[in-house]
Symmetry: C2
Amino acid sequence: MISIKDIARQVGTSPSTVSRVVNGKAYVNSKKREQILSLIKETGYVPNKAARSMVLKRSFAVGIIVPDTFNLFQQQLFSIIERRLESLGYHTIFFFTRLDLSSEEDCLDRLAMEKLDGIVILQEMHLPGFFEHFSRAGLPVVASTCKYHDYSSVGVKEKQAAFEGVNYLVGIGHKKINMISGVGFAFGTRRTEGYYEALAFNGLSRDESRVSSVQYYTAEFGMYGMSDLLQKNRDFTALFAATDELAIGAIRVLRDEGIRVPEDVSVLGFDDIYMSNYIVPRLTTIRQPISEIGEQTAMALHRSITGGNVSAGFDIELPHRLVIRESTAPPAAGSGTDGPEGKRLS
Amino acid sequence: MISIKDIARQVGTSPSTVSRVVNGKAYVNSKKREQILSLIKETGYVPNKAARSMVLKRSFAVGIIVPDTFNLFQQQLFSIIERRLESLGYHTIFFFTRLDLSSEEDCLDRLAMEKLDGIVILQEMHLPGFFEHFSRAGLPVVASTCKYHDYSSVGVKEKQAAFEGVNYLVGIGHKKINMISGVGFAFGTRRTEGYYEALAFNGLSRDESRVSSVQYYTAEFGMYGMSDLLQKNRDFTALFAATDELAIGAIRVLRDEGIRVPEDVSVLGFDDIYMSNYIVPRLTTIRQPISEIGEQTAMALHRSITGGNVSAGFDIELPHRLVIRESTAPPAAGSGTDGPEGKRLS
DNA sequence: ATGAAAGCGCTAACAT
DNA sequence: ATGTTAGCGCTTTCAT
């Protein structure tokens, strides 16, 4: 492999000068600069990253902590973040983590083995070791679609967005609205709060039996949540699912039960993943600006890494938007899947 | 950051000895070894990767070339490969590439900037520069779900699998079978061949107007393909989509046209992505063993990197399986969406 | 069995 | 404006 010395020798100069040219520093004779540049192009010389990283004490690698069981929104998001980071000159190292503490420990160990320039987290960590590790190492952190300590974060106003979505449901006439939510992620909690607040705002009573809490936010768990809800009570005309994938799983179960969407039950999702516009029926949902979130996450981290003001956490709140499609409609007259006549028995 | 020298000093030995212990070499006094090991644990010392990589001339990083517009199958696949590679001690660097040559050139440039230990490709590259680069650099390559030169590959018997799928369609009574296929990827071509062969095998005539070729294998392009087909001819009772995502897009259009699946038209996909079991109707499809493919891809690359026999390409063919769900059924009597009466006009 | 020394490719003072 | 030098953290001869 051709090195900086080779270039220097062939031009009849020193490695320092070549280094200056490569790194765009001033104080280089322009004739020499041209000469060096053209030789570099000709030979295809590329600086050795390991060597640079050693002397610069920067790895040009950032870590991203993601849930082991990610849904499509998260998958799309981390693909975007990865690409943005790449274009800013960073490599991305993934740390897949489950929700239990032993998995977090494992993640922390692997994290400690890497000399990283920064961290993106898509999942709240509970082990105090993380926070300690990050602050000891002076590592910039940005939390994307979640919150972590007082580090910078990028996302939407979860509660507000959920509030608006449920409010829309009420607005078109629904009074009996169920919800599938989850634990383990802050956004689930926030969305549930928004749901309850919208109910309260509209004078609807809070009924915990209308909410099912699942472990992960995937379609599979959407099925569990919906089955659970159906078992408890069939008297509802709308469902708010904390994520689109949850909604897709829920619709699956509804269909299997012969309950039509949206004729019998309206379904509202959250995220607006790519698939939501292709499934039958097209999903009404609250759109998160996923590209912008990814972009801002990468940029925020880059700023923290280069700017150095690690401690100054700021929250970037991007605009959400209710996207009305086919899975929601006003409730039918005398509605409820289990009307007064109790015509549908499982 | 604590270094090998620190450890050496504190134990009262030399860096060489510590290095030997860290790398599990022989010839170290066992008492000293214990001492060093415990100090390492205590201090949390971790060898600096950049330094190691510099002297070892290995980056512990592998590149993966993936299509810029990936479908869910590909996304799932590269997530799996990434994880397997990680557990084998490699970092993964993504190279997203479009299908045009200028994008390939760009990719090649970026590739050349990295000192990689190996390459995974999910997409056939056309620029001869790639092959030259790989062979000049002595880079092991493995092609996953595609073929590239005579490098190792991992995947299913595409043609055979498609053949079986279409054969199943014929078996349940379909005679007018359309297909949405694509260009740009070898698997699309192979699946189309399988489709044609199954028709021929069953004495059905080859009709190119029954096939629509799209650019990418996503749901969006599934919609284009289906619209295209519908415009040409509405006389068909089944559709074979080259990927599940294509099938999902196609079903979308069919529904919008009031054509029922599977009552009016059966739809068969390929891949068995996660979503296929949740959509309405559940998709009948040809399953690719995605986890095994990912696993084998990572292992094959690892073997090539460590074994060194770069040139010896081998093909790993994993078993596919037809998964019959709800989107296919025997054709209705007097079938065809556009019966003899021509009752459905667009 | 262990240590000294050289060197991987690069950058950043420091000199000039 | 440019060259010299030292050193980043590690592994690996080569001695001992």
